[in-house]
Symmetry: C2
Subunit: 431 residues, 2 copies
């Protein structure tokens, strides 16, 4: 398996369990005994309608954070293997308690650890990838019971070591289980009721999307939309599993993440080339001025940053003036790592010449839509909207389905509203 965005579609097996429905419940939905009971009631209703259900669960409420906090009391930098051994208990507690709650309602149910459910991963503790899911244990169990419950976020490697999948791992478990059992859809129950055109806390006219394409969702997830983890979306796209993101506190439909059909895509090219707008103010800009304009300088700087574990997001290199042998470059890094980045770059500049400074007064605004790359004028509408509120665009990056601009943080929310309006995203709700 390689990174997000480069995997081919794989054949999804034929349905192995007739009438199977796949659910995933996040930690908030399982925050206490009362909520566990409510989740059990929802699953019971699904069983009562004649379905078999495969349920993936996260750890209860903030229990994973509590386990990590205790670990850090014992060791400032706990070993990843031991941290996985510790954290894997959180989902095991959830799965057992939810199973008991179902049995209390008279529902035939059985719980599984990741290992018992056949989730084989690589051996990268803390961010393992699922290599294979053996459907046999769950298929056999579903011959005897109506509900199987799988501890999310965890698996086992070929050597029998417990591994965890990293942030958002339970979503990925749910999608992988759906794929292995040949299910077409995975319902992800969470504390929001779907995916919005933008953050509704910032823009009250933001509208819930009825559906969104995998590629759009991947971009939004990568931009920090916390509703789904990019890896789960990538896995869903690979096996063509629809993800229905919906609220665990209501019975309304949420947002379906899927491959949008060509006809709809065409319609969007004219009417609505942009599906969503995202704002990220968790990055800082690092400015490097006056470095020599000779080959290898950028390589040394970004090599050193990579070695120090500083992820670089956007990069621009300034065009030097005529006869100028010095140039400038800017790049963005997670705000928490801005100090580290400066410390990594400064000693290099002592040798090369030049200056480095950090600026955390920036924000990144991105528009996302599968038709962006093939629709003329989208970039122009974006730039005009941003200019219309007097914000200067400091950096730009684009992909086939996304355009991002860096603007002053002080004007970020105003720009978000202007861009949301410019692409008529508020009216999606009425459609």
């Amino acid at each position: 398996m390689d990174g997000v965005g480069h995997a081919p579609t794989e054949r999804r097996p034929e349905p192995l369990v007739p009438g199977l429905v796949v659910h995933k419940y996040g930690g908030t939905s399982l925050g206490d005994v009362e909520r566990i009971r409510k989740v059990a009631t929802r699953i019971q209703r699904t069983v009562d309608r004649g379905h078999k259900v495969a349920v993936t669960v996260s750890a209860m409420g903030h229990s994973t954070d509590q386990l990590i906090a205790t670990a850090r009391e014992v060791h400032a930098r706990p070993d990843r293997r031991e941290l996985d051994m510790l954290m894997a208990t959180g989902e095991q507690v959830s799965v057992a308690l939810l199973c008991m709650a179902l049995q209390h309602h008279g529902v035939r149910a059985r719980s599984f650890t990741g290992a018992q459910a056949g989730l084989l991963t690589d051996g990268v503790f803390g961010s393992a990838r699922i290599l294979q899911v053996d459907p046999t244990p769950l298929v056999r169990a579903l011959e005897q019971v109506d509900v199987v419950l799988i501890a999310g976020f965890q698996g086992v490697d070929a050597a029998g070591e417990l591994t965890t999948l990293g942030r958002g791992g339970s979503d990925t478990t749910a999608v992988a289980i759906a794929a292995a059992l040949g299910a077409e859809e995975c319902e992800v129950f969470t504390d929001t009721d779907g995916v919005y055109t933008t953050d509704p806390h910032l823009i009250p006219s933001a509208a819930k999307l009825a559906c969104i394409d995998y590629d759009e969702m991947l971009e939004l997830a990568a931009l920090g939309a916390e509703v789904l983890h990019p890896r789960s979306v990538w896995y869903a796209r690979r096996y063509r599993i629809r993800i229905h993101v919906r609220s665990s506190f209501s019975f309304q439909d949420g947002t379906v993440v899927t491959a949008l059909p060509r006809a709809q895509e065409t319609a969007m090219k004219t009417d609505r080339p942009v599906t969503g707008v995202a704002l990220d103010d968790q990055h800082a800009r690092i400015n490097v001025l006056g470095v020599p304009d000779v080959p290898g300088v950028a390589g040394r700087i970004f090599g050193a940053l990579g070695a120090a574990g500083v992820n670089v997001d956007m990069i621009i290199q300034g065009v030097p003036g005529a006869g100028d042998s010095r140039q400038q470059m800017s790049f963005t890094v997670p705000r928490d790592l801005a100090g580290d980045a400066v410390e990594v770059v400064r000693p290099l500049l002592a040798e090369l010449g030049g200056e480095v400074s950090a600026d955390d007064g920036i924000a990144k605004l991105s528009i996302v839509g599968v038709a962006i790359g093939s629709t003329p004028g989208v970039a122009g509408r974006l730039f005009a909207a941003v200019a219309g509120i007097g914000a200067n665009i400091e950096m730009i990056t684009t992909s086939e389905v996304r355009i991002s601009v860096v603007i002053p943080k002080l004007l970020a929310e105003q720009a978000l509203q202007a861009v949301h309006d410019a692409f008529d995203l508020g009216r999606v709700a009425g459609e």
Copy 2:
């Protein structure tokens, strides 16, 4: 494997790991992060002296009780399989945190679940028995690290289901690990500093025993001495593993549970036939009066009690008077089940005739010693001591290594002191 007391001694393998020491730490010893650090320091000292260490741990403090309480919020009678799934997390948390604490001290250590450590059990959820321990995973790990940490109380059955071993299960895990690795001794660290001639909270002159025979310890454990679980002692006797019971809060020697050599046994026959005295006030007496003296009556009564899950401890059947066709019987049951016992017996008596009543004003006092069966006069000294404080003996049972008498609860502590004195147990401390 059959019950306690009937298993032959099995060959213990040759030591598989040179210099191996086996430790077990109970929940109190791991009650919080500070105590976990202290345990890590103790293990580190053992490593510094050139040993490899296999450590079995219980769940932290009262965490198992908390998990059970949460389960009962969800389901009044939780399924045993799901309860095992839930409870097994407690030891997994301990083992990971203790491993991190060791690594914080620079000790090379690795944690294992019961399943990873090769503990194969039968499939009886909640009170599984260890069928086999595959030493390979731990032996291999000890080639790379100095300390392996095994989650106690848990294993996995042949179908891959998580099981727990029931109360005291971590002691049994520790002894089984010692046996599988060919270790001669297992050090059990607990919150008391050894085994006493009787409960030192009741009798201040009670003395700590330097050593005690497996059979004596089995009787004391069965009588409710909470320092070791009978099954762990039985397992230790079977494989001839010495258990050193000692305090996790000091470095003093505790009590060694072992097979006492013949010479010492002979010495005891003259000087000290009794090793310990135990008092149990957690039972009630059920009196059944006026039932027909015909065959099959006792069978019906005790059959019904067994079917209702009421364990019967001591039984006496009264000798009927001349020409009397009615008889009486008394038996003891756990005090909590006295009401159940009466409810089970009453409908039978409606048919057979007779009356039933419960009396929880009783206590059982027992003397234990391997030489009791072969030493004349021991029973006489016991009865005289009890009579000396004016207590009436209501029931008596004996075994090769134990004599138990039922006496009024009000006189129980006075009788305990008298018996302890009568067998000169207080002076053991000065020997």
